[in-house]
């Protein structure tokens, strides 16, 4: 192997490819695909021979490189319609340029004065302790904390307790809250009242599912005088 490679220094296949391009002093807009593919595959081979875990993405890019190489080897057809065909390398070049820009942006971020690394703020109380008022202000809260908390609870629970929470269920909760609010206000409503003017299927379906859920929870009672008659809904508990 003609070149030394430091392991674990590449953030991904694009990073490795950029390194090879720079090392060979290649014009990124005109990549000699055979040379780069060979070096790239050599590198992967080294990783394999060292029994290192190779992220799947490295293999995907290897396949892409081989594919581009094979397309470049195909004889150019006489057909004039193929003239407009894009260079098979174009997509890869675009991806590399984008990645290069973000990589540079990451370095720029890191070169800024970073709080608690280069610059520090006051951490002592700024006023006499007696002057401080214990007012409670809400910090901005992140929904991520909430999910994380729920996930931790679920992790501790028995597997059988774990029902998957999905988007549908949460929309249902919204609808349940709305229905309970309206029933509290109006004492009783008909199914038609709840549907209102809206005719989209999702809305009707959620309204219906919300009512089923509420009946299951025994929060509401539903009455129907006759088949296909008006469904009247009441709060189960006043």
């Amino acid at each position: 192997m003609g070149y030394e490679i430091k392991l674990d220094i590449f953030e991904g296949p694009l990073d490795l490819l950029l390194y090879l391009i720079k090392k060979n002093e290649i014009d990124i807009y005109d990549i000699p695909i055979s040379l780069i593919t060979k070096q790239y595959l050599d590198y992967i081979e080294i990783l394999r021979s060292l029994n290192l875990d190779l992220a799947g993405e490295f293999l995907v890019l290897a396949a892409t490189l081989i594919h581009i190489k094979s397309r470049l080897l195909l004889p150019v057809e006489e057909d004039p319609s193929t003239e407009d065909e894009e260079d098979p390398r174009a997509e890869l070049v675009r991806q590399l340029l984008e990645y290069q820009a973000f990589k540079e942006a990451a370095l720029q971020l890191d070169s800024r004065p970073v709080l608690e690394r280069d610059v520090f703020t006051r951490s002592c109380p700024a006023v006499e302790p007696d002057d401080r008022e214990d007012l409670e202000i809400f910090a901005e809260m992140d929904v991520f904390d909430l999910v994380k908390a729920f996930q931790q609870i679920i992790a501790k629970l028995d597997k059988t307790e774990c029902m998957e929470i999905d988007v549908e269920r949460m929309s249902l909760a919204d609808r349940i809250n709305e229905i309970m609010d309206r029933l509290t206000e109006h004492k009783h409503l008909t199914f038609t009242d709840l549907i209102g003017e809206r005719t989209d299927r999702r809305w009707i379906l959620y309204t219906f599912l919300a009512l089923l859920e509420l009946m299951k929870l025994r929060m509401i009672k539903a009455y129907q005088g006759e088949s296909y008659g008006v469904i009247r809904l009441f709060l189960a508990v006043e």
Binding site: D131, V143, V147, I165, S171
Partner: protein
């Protein structure tokens, strides 16, 4: 400004408690305590003469920057208390309510494995949770749900904007 004085100023400013001359001497190795003391005296005088909003004060065996005492009336308007988040217990309780609503307290307790009376009351006080109804079973237990304020505080369009557990799991490697 002399470099050592600038370093001392930065140290006093960033310290978590009044900073003693001894502690500064430990960091600025090779500097005499008398020199550190001299720099602190100079800084104290400079800030005083400047008549700005900040003073350097000797307090509790160390030095500390504080706002000028006669400006306290203004500073109070800032509400210097740090914005508080929710305690982990409250956050857990809120999470169960958000994902399982409408839900009775017994179910929240079962989920969390502890009695949630305290954190539930806190959430009701903070208007993040509310009573949405009663379950029509013996004892007529109260059903809890989240509020509009809950959506506001967590910047959610509606409840369906809450990430699902599956989505969170995808973030874990």
């Amino acid at each position: 400004m002399e470099e050592k004085k600038a370093i001392i100023e930065a140290l006093v400013f960033a310290a978590e408690a009044p900073l003693s001359i001894e502690r500064i001497a430990e960091i600025l190795t090779g500097t005499e305590r008398a020199d550190i003391n001299g720099a602190l005296q100079e800084l104290t005088r400079e800030y005083e003469e400047r008549k700005g909003g900040i003073h350097l004060q000797a307090v509790a065996g160390g030095y500390q920057f504080r706002t000028r005492s006669d400006l306290g009336v203004w500073v109070k308007k800032l509400r210097t208390a740090k914005p508080v988040g929710l305690s982990p217990a409250a956050l857990e309780t809120l999470a169960v309510i958000a994902y399982r609503q409408p839900v009775v307290k017994a179910d929240i307790d079962r989920f969390r494995g502890v009695d949630t009376a305290g954190s539930l009351r806190g959430l009701l006080d903070k208007k993040l949770a509310r009573i949405v109804g009663r379950k029509d079973v013996p004892g007529k237990p109260i059903l809890y749900g989240t509020t509009r304020k809950f959506l506001e505080v967590f910047t959610l369009q509606d409840l369906s904007a809450l990430p699902t557990l599956r989505e969170l799991k995808e973030l874990q490697d």
